[in-house]
Amino acid sequence: MHISEGVLSGPVLAAGAAVALAGTAAGLKKLELDRVAQTGMLAAAFFVASLIHVPIGPSSVHLILNGVVGLLLGWAAFPAILTALLLQAMLFQFGGLTVLGVNTVIMAGPAVICYYVCGPLVLKSPPVAATAAFVAGAGSVLLAGVLVGVSLVFTGENFLEVAGLVVAAHLPIMVIEGIVTVFCVAFLKKVKPELLPGYKAGKSV
């Protein structure tokens, strides 16, 4: 899901950087002291997840985990993913520095959307919560694929073709991440429900 350097045109890079900057500012502003450590942990998980390759399909795909990150962090997903992507670019040569903004938006944007769409549902009854978690995990990957298509549209590639290819390549990832997210949410609900979005002290689950 990382777009390489030298593919995108200047305006797209600038727009991506601007949106990423705004999202990061929003995320940092909303970040409370007791969530700093959690943000760091999830950034680390995201950073490492890209090393887990799934050798299915025509391309080379790896775990992304932006659904989990978004669900648990909300807007703080932006600084977390930006940091992790910066380190991936520097240490692993995934993506690159000029495309950092665009790549951040591609992965953190869907994460935030999932937070708002699926977040309120994860504390509901188990079937609803499991479905919401699966949708969050799989949907964030799907949306990220669509965003890759959108960013490549301006370089003359056919949107439907690219988005279709990316999404098709990531189908196994979507399933895996959906399942991972379901287990993650179920686990957290049991041991530490206050990490989940929308949790209010005293409310029985």
Binding site: F47, V48, A49, S60, T83, L91
Partner: protein, 202 residues
């Protein structure tokens, strides 16, 4: 705190699982000169060949000389164009792109004189292995040069491949731990800044 340790343990476990199959998520292209052709090989660093990727060849000035598609083995070859160094770009689609540069020296060194190579080729094929001194003196300097160049190319091919492959090593353990270390450091910094702000405001 216990919770955090658990999460950290999970991350470490993920990392170990990941390391076994650690491969960079990127595309690479490798090009070499052989005779009067240039061969390219493109793959995703996991070792998967790039099928039907677009290879674009630019000269030093940045103008496009030719373009082609990789075959099922991720290979694409073309006749060496007249140029002072080439930039060969692979675009594997979905935003995956990389490039390889061939300098003028690399192009020139292997190019040789095709005519001489053609003449020399049958001569060397006909020779039994131990070449007697009288026969050797029958070859002109240019012919010997062409034969040596050809043989060297053949012998060096696996070596060039090896070098190209070793350049594509996936992330090392040091990289991974380094990255996690950076993140933990940033967490500390963030917590410190937040803590100070909250203390001041209260």
């Amino acid at each position: 705190m216990k919770q955090l340790l658990k999460v950290f343990g999970l991350i470490c476990a993920l990392m170990i699982v990941g390391y076994g199959t650690a491969q960079a998520h990127k595309v690479t292209i490798f090009a070499w000169v052989e005779g009067d052709r240039i061969y390219t090989e493109s793959k995703f660093s996991g070792g998967k060949r790039v099928k039907n990727g677009t290879v674009t060849v630019l000269d030093n000035a940045g103008s496009q000389l030719l373009e082609g598609k990789t075959d099922d083995n991720g290979e694409f070859s073309f006749k060496t164009p007249e140029a002072n160094g080439l930039t060969i770009i692979i675009n594997a689609g979905m935003g995956h792109r990389n490039q390889w540069t061939l300098s003028a020296a690399e192009l020139g060194a292997a190019e040789g004189d095709p005519a001489v190579t053609a003449v020399a080729a049958p001569a060397v094929d006909g020779q039994p292995e131990p070449v007697s001194p009288n026969v050797a003196t029958g070859l002109s300097a240019a012919e010997v040069e062409a034969i040596v160049a050809r043989q060297l190319e053949e012998k060096l091919r696996p070596l060039t491949h090896m070098v190209a492959e070793s350049r594509e090593k996936g992330p090392s353990v040091a990289d991974i731990f380094g990255g996690i270390g950076y993140i933990l450091g940033l967490v500390g910094l963030g917590a410190y800044v937040r803590y100070r702000r909250e203390n001041r405001s209260s």
